[in-house]
Symmetry: C2
Subunit: 343 residues, 2 copies
């Protein structure tokens, strides 16, 4: 039946060579004449031979698999569009190299750690991706302790102790602020993300520094999160402010959309009374009215680059020890949720 029980032994027999020669021939290794190489490959094709991952795995000490543990509750994953594209990018990078993705979900921090431990202990994966990094993320020392190859996704600048891929949010957020400043805004608020996350902090910092650079005082900074509901809540708090901002930079699109919706309910005109920006560039941002001015991140490219780097690290950890990939920064995409300062 379609199911292939044919092994390299069969191929070798058919080609009339030793198993070792068949192996060399098929893997393009030297030590076989061109003639026999042809003959072996022919035999393999005729028999429909596909190398057994299990045999290779045991022999080469590789799982041909990389791991990704999502340390988020599944209901957060519901609303965050990052992952689909991110995973698609990973796939694209690894599948043609014979690798596959093992995806796990960590319920909480402890659970997540345990999953990394287990992945390492039974050697199910050859390496892991660390995304959604926290400040001083414990996973970093964990993978070091476990001797598990790993690459980080957009870590805190400079001193990150693992190879990593980075897409700057600073550039985009800075452009956003500059755009608002050029529209005459002087009081520009920020709805920030949860404290512990590296990407919350980067966006917060970029917002603050861009304002300082423009000679403006960083306007009110509101605690928030990455959710729609967080945006709604922020709108309520802004509405109660004495000295209201005329623009608000939200930590992500979902939050911005929530803020817009609630603001409109409160009778605040967007962008007439208040300009709003997001971050991520998710589809939803183009659906709402006014369409959301945002920063277009490219999670697909991030996933692809990170996975490719991880495979390189697995191949030669030493050589890639401090490798860093800087992706083109996410760029601003101007839409309709920002406008001139009201007067």
């Amino acid at each position: 039946m379609g199911s292939s029980r044919v092994t390299i032994v069969d191929v070798a027999a058919r080609a009339g060579v030793a198993i070792s020669s068949a192996s060399s021939a098929l893997n393009g290794r030297p030590g076989v004449s061109e003639a026999t190489r042809q003959r072996v490959q022919e035999a393999a094709r005729e028999l429909g031979y596909v190398p057994s991952l299990r045999g290779r795995s045991l022999s080469t000490q590789r799982a041909f698999t990389i791991g990704l543990v999502l340390q988020r509750s599944w209901d957060v994953l519901e609303s965050d569009p990052f992952f689909g594209a991110f995973i698609g990018g990973i796939e694209q990078a690894i599948s043609h190299r014979g690798y596959a993705l093992v995806l796990q979900m960590g319920f909480d921090q402890q659970d997540t750690e345990n999953r990394y431990r287990e992945l390492a202990a039974n050697r199910r994966v050859d390496g892991v991706l660390l995304n959604e990094l926290r400040v001083d993320d414990p996973r970093v020392s964990l993978v070091k302790e476990l001797g598990l190859p790993a690459v980080g996704i957009s870590p805190d600048l400079d001193s990150f102790p693992l190879p990593y891929v980075r897409q700057s949010a600073t550039v985009g957020v800075t452009q956003l602020v500059e755009h608002l400043v050029s529209l005459g805004h002087t009081r520009i608020a920020h709805v920030a993300g949860p404290e512990g996350y590296v990407h919350s902090r980067e966006r917060d910092r970029a917002w603050r520094e861009a304002l300082v650079a423009a000679g403006l005082e960083p306007g009110p900074r509101l605690d928030g999160d990455f959710t729609y509901e967080g945006g709604r809540s922020a709108a309520d708090r802004i509405a109660e402010l004495d000295d209201k901002p005329t623009a608000v930079v939200c930590v992500n699109d979902l939050c911005a959309v929530g803020l817009i919706m609630r603001a409109q309910e409160l009778g605040i005109k967007i962008p007439g009374d208040l300009s709003v920006t997001g971050y991520d560039g998710i589809a939803l941002g183009t659906y709402v009215r006014p369409a959301l001015t945002s920063v277009q991140a490219t999670p697909r490219q991030v996933g692809s680059a990170a996975a490719a780097l991880l495979l390189d690290v697995i191949d030669d950890a030493q050589a890639r020890e401090n490798e860093v990939i800087q992706l083109p920064a996410a760029e601003v995409v101007l839409r309709k949720s920002t406008g001139p300062v009201p007067r």
Copy 2:
């Protein structure tokens, strides 16, 4: 170092028994005295022994892995909340049985088929889940041809030739229609999903039959899809209808939200002029105003049940050949987007 090079040979040596005895002892098989079992387990614990998945895999002919290929473009996955919870459910069901999930994305139908073939050919997975089933889905005969254990997710009724898990949409959609009828609506439209999908068809059929059962003529049926944009487009088409419906049943929440947004832009009051319902019960439905009346599906439970069934099928394909798991039907959740028929 944390990295365990310790094998069952070491454990056996330490316990002073043969490898085979150590294996039996650790796996709870008979043939070892209680005393030596203790001794072996003690030794294993002291050495921090973790069985090598690779060795087991080769020996038992199992990968300890199941596969899921998402046959959707990554941008669709962006907006559809089903997957996060679904995958979470799978994880929950398999991780404690020592299994892991291999996730792949199929770019198009052909690509998807190739991925199943490859998964089967190199035996990377022990079985696969078939979700997002199409009418006459080619994957069904494919897995049969490949001899790959598989279970279907909510297939077309009755005659599905593989074990499957099913959560009825019929009950929920019927309740939705009955609810609308009880509010006095007599002209109830449906924005349907893409033709080829089994779940589109089931919802369409349920809507139609519920109306017939209520003695009403099935109102206009509009082609649509599962997207926000599709909902907006449907709103435009409804607005142009001569004989406008007073209620519309959308194929899913995202579509319904799009419809509501666009309808409101057109000056149509929801639910004053038009009642709208969705399907899925995603978080977004509770964010919009009016909050969306919908049907609360439980993708997490679906994933969990399907994965558990697949593991059973892998263990004993014969015994489970025609096994079916019916989950409790998704139930209506009434919110604010439906109201009495306008008069």
